[in-house]
Subunit: 175 residues, 2 copies
């Protein structure tokens, strides 16, 4: 799965500009992928060259004009073939947080505590964003939303349990 396929998929749900595609992965989809502008714009250019999408320039008042892309029938076909060509592979994860925690023995307890506290706040916020995003309509969107919420909840629960047990230990040591 490359960024071209990802863009094609988003455009299958409705036309959008490169900027708008990126924005969709900041709100309620940011737990599944976060493509950068540096990969989205070249991907759209290539898709246009290959006839998978068509592009029309929309002039806007008081804003820069934007290029709105629409998926073509050829694009829709290619998208289905690409997605169904194989079962999705395992998620690629790079968690700086978990790496930091893995080496917690050589770091200061205050730093570790701050990292955990920040992470709890982060997942609480993400959970709230997912919950408030009613979105409706599309079953796929609902699934992704529900998945994100389930994982967020589990992460917060685990982090809070660990934090409480750490605090208890400190209280005991102090006493």
């Amino acid at each position: 799965m490359n960024i071209s396929t990802l863009c094609l998929g988003i455009l299958a749900l409705g036309e959008a500009s490169g900027y708008e595609i990126r924005k969709r992965f900041e709100g309620p989809f940011r737990h599944m992928h976060e493509p950068s502008f540096g990969s989205i714009y070249p991907a759209l250019a290539k898709l246009t060259r290959d006839g998978m999408v068509s592009c029309t320039v929309h002039s806007q008042e008081k804003r820069p004009s934007k290029k709105v892309y629409s998926i073509t029938p050829a694009g829709r076909l290619a998208l289905r073939q690409e997605l169904e060509s194989a079962l999705p592979g395992p998620d690629r994860i790079r968690s700086d947080f978990l790496v930091t925690m893995l080496f917690s023995d050589i770091l200061s307890p205050d730093f570790i505590d701050a990292a955990v506290t920040e992470r709890i706040a982060f997942y609480n916020e993400l959970g709230a964003v997912l919950q408030s995003n009613e979105c409706g309509g599309n079953a796929g969107r609902e699934f992704v939303r529900g998945y994100g919420m389930a994982v967020c909840r589990a992460a917060v629960e685990y982090l809070e349990t660990v934090q409480r047990s750490t605090q208890d230990r400190e209280t005991l040591t102090a006493a």
Copy 2:
């Protein structure tokens, strides 16, 4: 957080070869990072050049000889400074599975069902690997293990709930 820092951290837990570093991220750590050989070997070469690690060749009978790397005092200092220089940023996730599910409306129900079933099996297996890995000793390792297990459990629960409700709907439709 780059691969150099990651390697330095692993070496802070004990000396290892490039191959062994990779292996550690296949078993119980594969939910946090999966660095490739193509990034590990250049990283180790650079760390050696910079005096962060030292390298000795171990000849082995009936096996290729290997280069075993050890962290130096300078490396230990640099690792702490690097890790404590900022709180860890958000996880970078690329989930082909969630992307596929997002576009489930335009894919065949059989394919979606197969993808969900496969994913349940995957997380069940990962959960089992994490559980069986007693590891002990290091608090960081315990934390990462517990986190992985919590997330796995939540994912499986959610996926199974969705799958059951889909089956119920099919039963209703058939009746």
